[in-house]
Amino acid sequence: MPVHQSMLVAALTGMVATAALAVVLDFVLWKPLRARRAGFMSLFLASIGLALILRQALLLAAGSQPRSFAVNPYRVFVLGGVRLSEAQVIAIATAAVIIVAVALFLALTTVGRVLRAMADDRALAAIAGIDVGRATLLAWLISGALAGLAGVLAGLVEYSFDPNFGFELLLPVFAAVVLGGIGSAYGALAGGLALGLAQEVSTWSGFAGGVNPVYKPVVAFAVLAVALMIRPQGLFGQARAG
């Protein structure tokens, strides 16, 4: 299928582009902020300004009209009673492979251990002889490429997308990360699963009549609010920011 082949190439090109962008942004923005020992407030505000710039630049370059990938939305796979569209099959399979690969990489390889050491204590890692600059670059390359891949997969699953769709994804992502605990990769995974389940179960009519489906995002945040009152640092988070 030539269409799928060219899409694979395009997706890889997209990942290379986002990885390169992540590295460039580290040099012009995050590195100077780190050098100033800027706290999270600066980082938060700078990233909000940056998001504004990137989104508007995308609008300027690509226009605001919705687009979609050339996948057939009506092709359905049935796997043991579960009906999945072609896009969903691609997204679930890719996500599963990537999650396992990243977990193995962080747990088993030397580079993975270096990255985890740096996340724990940057100064200590530097004293231990780790080239912190190179490891940071690598972290940005990986996260930039993965964010690019996530964008392609989300575009596939949502079927139609425009430059604003990243912002619509932001809130569920925030909710999942906060519920799991900021700084915990497995926490984000567990948080995302828990919130997704809570959203879908809330619309089931056997559950107090079921919530109107348009309020699914509100349900996610209600769950989040209750969970944070019980455990303010998130499910897997540390009590204090390091």
Binding site: G49, L52, A57, P217
Partner: protein
């Protein structure tokens, strides 16, 4: 270029700057004096504006009473937000505030029976009638216009908005010079030290959040009166980011820096409409709207990078951490 010479246009820029002064003053109380990172300020505008419009159109209330209740509703919104999330770590709190403002906009968009949904306030009344909430405001405005001897409603609105903004700035400035304001700054600088001195830091932060919410509510009322119509789309998170830009431009922890930041914002925002020379002419009007927001994003990033205390801020008192 004829519009540049028009008084009405500049009066409009001034009115917008005045409304944003009130909105950003709320952020200054919350962040500049209490250290609370609130990214959901626009929600309080929406709560007050919708409360006022709904009570006037659906319940037939007097607009002034409805406006007072709108401010009260915004304040209660701030209290509820604070009671549930102020105990969170600061970064979690910042995220929860964005979520809060998006939920408010979400409910306004989807609960059509209450808010008119995406059609906005025009659909608040019965089907087939175009509803209006600001009849009483128009007659008040023309009364003021008559009393001032003005012949333009734009100029009248400018005077009203800035009169209220200056009164609020003065009240805030005075309030922050009281023992209450000093405790607030002590909490911002070292919460544990303030707590060790027996101050109930949670209560102080809650009060600052609610006060900022009330100011956001007042900004929302003026927004509603100035534009005579609004819909959920008017309360995008972008407005909160504009207010943050104003705060950063003016200076952190400085009450009188807020109108300076708002003035610059008004000129940048309105002035960039006149970039009708190359290379800007390469883009259509859509493209120039995107460029304007790119410039605003750039200003935020550059200020964080090179002048984290803002133009008038005092580096020794407060720098963005």
């Amino acid at each position: 270029m004829s519009i540049l010479a028009s008084g009405g246009f500049w009066a409009f820029v001034g009115v917008v700057a005045g409304i944003y002064t009130i909105l950003a003053l709320g952020l200054q109380v919350q962040f500049g004096f209490a250290g609370l990172l609130n990214f959901g300020q626009v929600a309080f505008m929406a709560i007050a504006a919708y409360t006022m419009a709904i009570l006037v159109v659906k319940e037939g209330w007097s607009m002034w009473l409805a406006a007072a209740l709108g401010i009260a509703a915004a304040t209660v919104g701030g209290l509820l937000l604070g009671l549930t999330s102020l105990r969170l770590r600061a970064d979690y709190f910042a995220i929860v505030t964005i979520a809060f403002s998006e939920i408010v906009r979400y409910v306004a968009t989807n609960d059509t029976a209450l808010t008119g949904g995406t059609q906005g306030t025009i659909a608040l009344g019965r089907v087939g009638t175009a509803s209006q909430y600001n009849g009483q405001w128009s007659s008040f405005e023309s009364g003021v216009e008559h009393a001032l001897g003005f012949s333009s409603s734009d100029a009248t609105m400018l005077v009203i908005v800035w009169f209220v903004a200056l009164v609020l700035l003065l009240l805030t400035w005075l309030g922050l010079r009281t023992p209450w304001g000093r405790v607030l700054r002590a909490i911002r600088d070292d919460e544990e030290a303030a707590a060790a001195l027996g101050k109930n830091t949670f209560a102080y932060k809650l009060q600052a959040l609610a006060l900022g919410a009330a100011l956001g509510g007042i900004a929302g009322l003026f927004y509603a009166w100035e534009f005579s119509f609004f819909s959920p789309d008017d309360f995008q998170p972008l407005l909160t980011f504009f207010a943050w830009m104003i705060l950063l431009l003016g200076g952190l922890g400085r009450v009188w820096a807020v109108p300076l930041g708002a003035g610059i914002f008004g000129i940048v925002f309105a002035g960039t409409r006149f970039l009708n020379f190359a290379p800007f002419t390469w883009f259509g009007s859509d493209g120039r709207a995107y460029l304007r927001l790119i410039i605003i994003g750039l200003i935020i990033v550059i200020l964080v990078l090179v002048r984290p205390q803002g133009l008038l801020g005092n580096k020794r008192e407060m720098v963005l951490e």
